[in-house]
Symmetry: C2
Subunit: 358 residues, 2 copies
Amino acid sequence: MGFERRNIQGMEGYTPGEQPGDSNTIKLNTNENPYPPSPRVASAVREFSSASLRRYPPPMADQFREMAASRHGLNKDNIIATRGGDELLRLVITTFVDPGEVIAMTDPTYSLYPVLAQIQDCTTYKIPLETDWSLPRDFAEQVNASNAKLTFVVNPHAPSGYLIDGETIRNLAEDLNGIVLIDEAYVDFIDPRRGYDCLSLVTEYNNLIFLRTLSKGYSLAGLRFGYGIGNQELIQPILQKTRDSYNLDAFSQRIATAAFKDHDYARGTWQKVRDERDRISPLLRQLGLDPTASESNFLLVQLASDSSLTAKEIYEALKQQQILIRYFDQPRLLDKLRITVGSYGENEHLIAALRELL
Amino acid sequence: MGFERRNIQGMEGYTPGEQPGDSNTIKLNTNENPYPPSPRVASAVREFSSASLRRYPPPMADQFREMAASRHGLNKDNIIATRGGDELLRLVITTFVDPGEVIAMTDPTYSLYPVLAQIQDCTTYKIPLETDWSLPRDFAEQVNASNAKLTFVVNPHAPSGYLIDGETIRNLAEDLNGIVLIDEAYVDFIDPRRGYDCLSLVTEYNNLIFLRTLSKGYSLAGLRFGYGIGNQELIQPILQKTRDSYNLDAFSQRIATAAFKDHDYARGTWQKVRDERDRISPLLRQLGLDPTASESNFLLVQLASDSSLTAKEIYEALKQQQILIRYFDQPRLLDKLRITVGSYGENEHLIAALRELL
């Protein structure tokens, strides 16, 4: 491969979860919301003017940014809208991390982070989580000792669903010498009684940025729409300089705005997901698949040490029955499976199939 | 700006053409197609299932890639679909050009190229075009002497509309030591009697990649959909490694496919644009605004040396009348204006306003 940069030659791409074309598969492998998007999304699609596509879209997605700022009690200048959360991750690296610099992350974590680090020719520094998936006490010291320019922390954690509390987030912003990105892709599924909301910290700390996405909470994985919330010092250079001009098409801006406006509908789907999460957790435990306490829309289950089947075998047996869940071929996860919380019917199918198997 | 990389700190962002929110403005400043997209696009929007947005989109845009490959007589592996042409430009840099390396381009050219080079911390090497906007005879020698890893050539040229012939494109691929990207954003507006079609060269040269977009030719600037056509050695690492996973949402894949399929409709709009281009060129010349022979959907007009108004004054006077055209505040273009070819009615308005002014 004559022309590739050396770092690109030496890397493998990101492997997304399987996306089968058929509609019979019960898809519990990529954490999609089991409920359709708001009825207002359907109206917005129906009312969308195809003729308007002739012209360039609003370059800054101002309408969405204003709405998000108002919901979070912040200023429009604290918000950037992006093509899913993934574009924000890339842009934060592009804007702030030079090739050769260090990006810190937990181990395990979202598997896209090290891929993005490699594309920028950065060094990845991985810090193992504790047994209960919490951060080690000396996490900040380890990060600072590695000289990391940027740290990725996904909260609730993927793939475990473990939630770091707000005080710990504040301490990270306070203690880290570099930037910390808190990836809140699954934030909508946190039990509201936990009272988790850290966004106002961005006005206090100039090294703090949060990622949000409409993919899970608003049932819009197919739309590719997310946003970043951060101190202006972090948001403005991305907004004004490094993002692709016209990064968001006219349709997605319209649809995202319609979905985001219907907060009540989305909130209803979050509660249903939590109810199902609570319902199936003990059922899975009875089957010898012990779930981590999760504040997300998935459960990481641990096989009993005397399980007759391996995690991989369970994954494969379910796949044969057109039920997809996620198996990770990596240390610490070999005896675990990640199961997206589906609808009542999907979950019943899964439990029945597992009962058969185990 | 504490955390920005030095190259980002030192740069300014890309300035897109003005996008007024109102619909009364006659917009001849950003080269949008004056005709709406195909009626099949309207049907595809009506039939689009909002519920399908719940799931992740097809990650590789296979349906579009297969259709494009078949139209161009190439293999799917020679095609990558991207968020507008702009994403392809960025990805070619990301994949093949290390920070510090040289990117060559003509002067003048599409003003996004140097911005993307700065984001990657690359050096821009600009080679002045001849007076008639053709490449200098020793272009390849100059590029090779600069040690450029990548060369951007927009053909037809922006902002002049000048067309480089196929033999010259072949010679560039043959002679250049690095990669050459031929940006064919405006290719659809070339007079078919010119017989311009160079795409098959990608099977012969492993350093050649073409950019196409649906923004202009298919009246879909608001959709953000383009594609790259290149040797597999160039396409595959971008497709498999460096593009954002799920770079194209489900809606844009569906709409792009519908528009691209209706080739006849699009071709009809191209002919109408050419007819208008031919009609208004002599009218502009009569007004002392001499247009370069253009194979694109815009005309670069040169003011007479004894013009009573400067180009900037004309631009501003038209803007006051809600007619937007493009003025470039840069050497060689100060006494010129770029005018997008609009519909008959838009062009009549423009000519009438210019007649008043001049």
